[in-house]
């Protein structure tokens, strides 16, 4: 399931919901992304997430479908927020539920890695020097490429 929203979410409640949906679930794995108060040397007072509404849910649904095809998941959930967020606030939640832990761990990591390089969101940070757009990181591309099945990238 995919949710794109301005509002906050409750990671514990979402994990409990996915874990309780079926007694075939043996493990639930979650990742929560938060706003940091620094980007390198610069202080970050807040960030604003912009997205492409017509494409965002489509892109996230495609990423979810890919995860479900690769791993035997009982359920999975991605919530991504947009709008202005301050340090400490939650940005993104990925929850995976599976019969066994390895699929839940791997699918969770895959989902956040792919989401970071494929979902149409852009972050702009508010710093004392003014607003600056966050640049994509090569390390994120490398993390996503690990899942392409190229042993050289692992």
């Amino acid at each position: 399931m995919i949710r794109v929203q301005r509002e906050d979410f409750d990671p514990g409640a979402e994990m409990a919901r996915l874990g309780g949906a079926s007694h075939g679930v043996g493990g639930v794995c979650a990742f929560v992304g938060l706003v940091r108060d620094a980007a390198g040397e610069a202080e970050v007072r807040a960030m604003t997430l912009e997205h492409y509404p017509a494409m965002t849910e489509k892109a996230l649904a495609a990423i979810e479908a890919e995860a479900r095809q690769r791993w035997p998941l009982e359920d999975c959930l991605v919530i991504h927020r947009y709008g202005r967020l301050e340090p400490g606030e939650r940005i993104v939640l990925v929850v995976t539920a599976s019969a066994h832990r390895q699929a839940a761990f791997d699918a969770c990591q895959f989902l956040i890695d792919w989401l970071k390089t494929k979902a149409p969101f852009w972050k702009q940070e508010e710093t004392p020097e003014g607003a600056q757009w966050v640049e994509a990181r090569d390390s994120d591309d490398a993390a996503a490429a690990r899942w392409n099945g190229d042993p050289a990238a692992e």
């Binding site: 492409y52 940005i91 390089t117 969101f121 852009w122 972050k123 994509a136």
Partner: protein, 83 residues
């Protein structure tokens, strides 16, 4: 054809979205970007470096070689930074 810009491409282009009618010779994304660059100094600045421009046609990722037509929605944006 509808063109939508995001993040710093939007700021440099100076427009959120626009309806455009490129000449008939514009049939693919590469041709469209070259034509858009001629529309204003802002457009030229936004699209100056193709290596940092990502493209979606009708909300699906596309490449410079993909075709575009009058009914398409084309989005131009920098590499994504969500998550």
């Amino acid at each position: 054809m509808k063109i939508i810009y995001f993040a710093w491409l939007r700021e440099k282009a100076g427009v959120n979205e626009e309806d455009v009618t490129p000449p008939a010779g514009v049939t693919d994304v590469a041709g469209l970007i070259e034509w858009l660059k001629e529309q204003s100094p802002g457009h030229a600045a936004a699209l100056a470096d193709p290596a940092v421009v990502r493209i979606a046609v009708n909300q699906e990722y596309a490449t410079l070689e993909d075709p575009v037509g009058p009914d398409d929605e084309v989005a131009l944006f920098p590499p994504v930074t969500g998550g």
